[in-house]
Amino acid sequence: LEGAVYLEDEWQITPRLHANIGLRASLWQADEKTYYNLQPRLAATYDLQPNIQLKASYSYMSQYLHLLTTTGIGLPNDLWVPTTDRVAPQDSWQIVAGVEYRRNKFFDLSIEGYFKKLNNVITYQEGSSLTSIDAENWENNVTTGEGWAYGLEIFVDKNFGRTTGWLSYTLAWSLRQFDRVNLGQTFPFRYDRRHNLKLVLIHRLGSNWELSGNWVYGTGLATTLPISEYQASIPGFSGRSELAINFGEKNSFRLPNYHRLDIGANYSFGKNTKSHTLSFGFYNIYNRRNPLYYRLSRGTRNPLNPRGKQYIEVSLLPITPYFSYSIEF
């Protein structure tokens, strides 16, 4: 059972200073426990000049659904699970401060810094994964922890003329700490990408045709690779000897930087009541092999790996054509 009430007020404090104040109260009834939360939000803007605006916000948020996902890389395997007696709701607070500059009929520029703290986030404890849990035992296979995300975002938007588009750049850090992952030590989260750049351009050719291009660039994802190994045969323990693999710190390696260019064309036609659009183009036009993950191949039977141990790169989505048709009425 979930319930929530939200109050919000727009407040023009001075001709230049404007605030939006809100408060959300929510509750969640688990089997035995009831969770309550008061979540204040505050956002303020100040018009420094007619085309320059300063802005800042603070928000505290709580949610009763958890995204259960992995902390490293591999195939995405996200599950949504509810708050229970044992798994408390997750919450976060965030502060954002920035400036926005508008140059009419040319471009908008926005620069923002942010800091976000997350509490009671969950993930699979080491040794568990999507394939090892079910509806009965998932609580025994998750671990609770904290997260931090902070960085700077720059956004330039050109929305006038035949060529429009936008450019965004993010300098970001994202960290996690869980009791039962990485021996309790803080580590870079799977989405910890130091640099993220995205450029989108759209050029209109007459009234029917439109060309578009989209280039993304990002620092490689953090990953974990084996670095050494030894035989774990402990005196006093008769029986099996295990090969112990040392990975160092979790997510201490980086995949190669990610980049990709998509291009496309749209052809629109039709009358006022119905409009049709044909779209076609290519994802990853220069066929960049962006690795999804690496794994260490140990066998010598693998024809890819006749010499013994070597790293195998697994990548997806080479150059891929697309075609779509849409109708609006």
Partner: protein, 316 residues
Amino acid sequence: MSRRNTYRFLSLLLCFCLFGQSCERVVDLGIEEEQSRLVVLSNFEPDSLFKLSVSRSRSALSSEPLEYIDNAIVGIYEGDVLLEEMVTVFEPLLGRNIYTTRQLKPMEGIPYTVWVKALDLPDVSSTDVIPPAVPMTSLEIVGTPRFLPITPDQQTVQVLLRLRATFQDPPGERNFYHLNFFYKDINIQIDGEDTLKQETGIIIPLTLQDTPNDLPYLSHYNQGVLIDDERSDGEQMSFEFEAATRPVGRLEIFDYLFVELRSGSTAYYDYHSSLTLQSQETDTIFSEPIILFNNIVEGYGIFAGYNTALDSVAAF
């Protein structure tokens, strides 16, 4: 081939080509291979000599044989004071030399440090302490044991029985346990009408059949169950398991069944649980690496203390 089938064939061919490109390839990551380090492995308990193994690690990309080292200098210290230098002895169970103290037996609550120097590798050290023992409350056989014939003539059987072990977890502190069930190997000699029983000194673990593998239980890679009291601090802990003996020809060899409750240090639990999880991991695209605990400074391995409490029950 009709035009429709031709289009279908070309579509499938295109999909196949795309998948073919999105595959695996060998890559050289250009990562500098890690130099070999000393590996020290030791678990110690009160009233037993220190025993320790020294070897060297190899790079993850190396296929060289893993070496044990017999000529290391190994010392056990209390603070800065050398208590005893260890010597090598042959360990029949492992089939190789290990290091042991000649007289020094560790005591509960004292932090011991091991220091190892060998070859041209960096010196390594580690410190740990033996925690207090937690006594067993009881060990019971639940229900009636079952006898599973192994051979057609039913002369060799495997005994299946349900065991319940109970102990009281001390409140207000984090405790880690390693629960083992075993019996002692007994040699039987028949002398006329007399049956002579003699212990061989070999401990035979009972195989646990149905150990849950969700926290707080973790079925140890070698034997027994690891337990973390995080969610049951101060409670009476009772564990019931189906256990199996090895196939035997004579039931008289079972005298008593034993439970050993090891109270491990944090390092003991962290190492054994992470190594166990590594050993259980299946290599799927959804699994993530298990970070192995290590408390050897400048090297790898484990130097950790544990305490024990024993209880027993008459077998049949």
